[in-house]
Amino acid sequence: MTLQITRQVDARGLTCPMPIVKTAQAIAPLAPGSIVEVLATDAGSVKDFAAWSRTTGHQLIDQSVDGAVYRFVIRRK
């Protein structure tokens, strides 16, 4: 099954809290179930996206790291 990514958020080069802030702003207008892909370089974002998804209820369905770039895939609740 391939995921249909609705929106991408490029948070590379940004530090806390902007990757979360930008993702929250990008995900808000989307329909429930939409998939958002986030790219970030902030090492703190690994713990932060997990915490953020628990607080908001949005689902962190995939995460990976490629070199210094972290990738998070989130399904909007």
């Binding site: 806390c16 809290p17 902007m18 979360i20 802030v21 702003q25 607080t55 908001t56």
Partner: protein, 198 residues
């Protein structure tokens, strides 16, 4: 010693025909929406923003914007020195009398003119912080304030401080909510899930 027998409540009657129809139709199970009757309470964070220093405004703005980004309703009660960063950009000196004017003459108001609580060194400290901030791609207080406003953080100015500093509501940024006092701050803090004094 007495033993009590707990009687199970009678199982609800099941209509075997309806069950069979469901099975045959092969309708996928849909999770029933949990309706408890009461609305889900949004979590709430209250921050008392007192200091106005760069090194304290940063956490105020980072935590408030992140709270709002996390679906946590955030209210910031802005009091004393905390009010000066919320003065509009184009205002340089505010106040009615010379003492109030002296205050903003000594401490330039506005979000771009914050001092450090330590190692300020006549502005060298904040300047170096600005250089480091840019080098590491860290958001400025201005960017964070814009994010906080866009995400719906509520800023509530302290009426008493406004009176003492000679600040009028129109001196403050447009996003500033109606002024309030200590009793409002207490009510906000006691009903919130978490509150901070920064």
């Amino acid at each position: 010693m007495t033993t009590t027998t707990l009687e199970r409540p009678a199982a609800p009657a099941v209509d075997p025909l309806a069950e069979a129809v469901d099975d045959v139709a092969g309708i996928p199970e849909i999770e029933p929406a949990v309706e408890t009757g009461e609305p889900v309470k949004t979590k709430e964070l209250v921050i008392v923003d007192w200091s106005g220093d760069l090194d304290r405004m940063w956490p105020v703005l980072i935590l408030s914007s992140t709270a709002a980004a996390s679906g946590v309703h955030c209210k910031v009660f802005v009091t004393f020195w905390g009010l000066l960063p919320f003065v509009k950009d184009q205002k340089r000196v505010v106040g009615e009398n010379w003492m109030q004017k002296m205050l903003t003459l000594m401490q330039r108001p506005g979000i771009d003119h914050l001092k450090l609580s330590k190692m300020n060194f006549l502005g060298m400290g904040p300047w170096m912080m600005g250089v480091l901030r840019k080098r590491y791609g860290i958001a400025s207080p201005r960017e964070l304030l814009e994010a906080a406003n866009a995400l719906g953080v509520e800023f509530i100015p302290c009426q008493m401080t406004m009176d003492m500093f000679g600040l009028k509501h129109e001196d403050l940024i447009d996003e500033m909510g109606p002024p309030a006092g200590a009793a409002t701050a207490i009510e906000l803090m006691t009903s919130a899930d978490a509150s901070l004094f920064i």
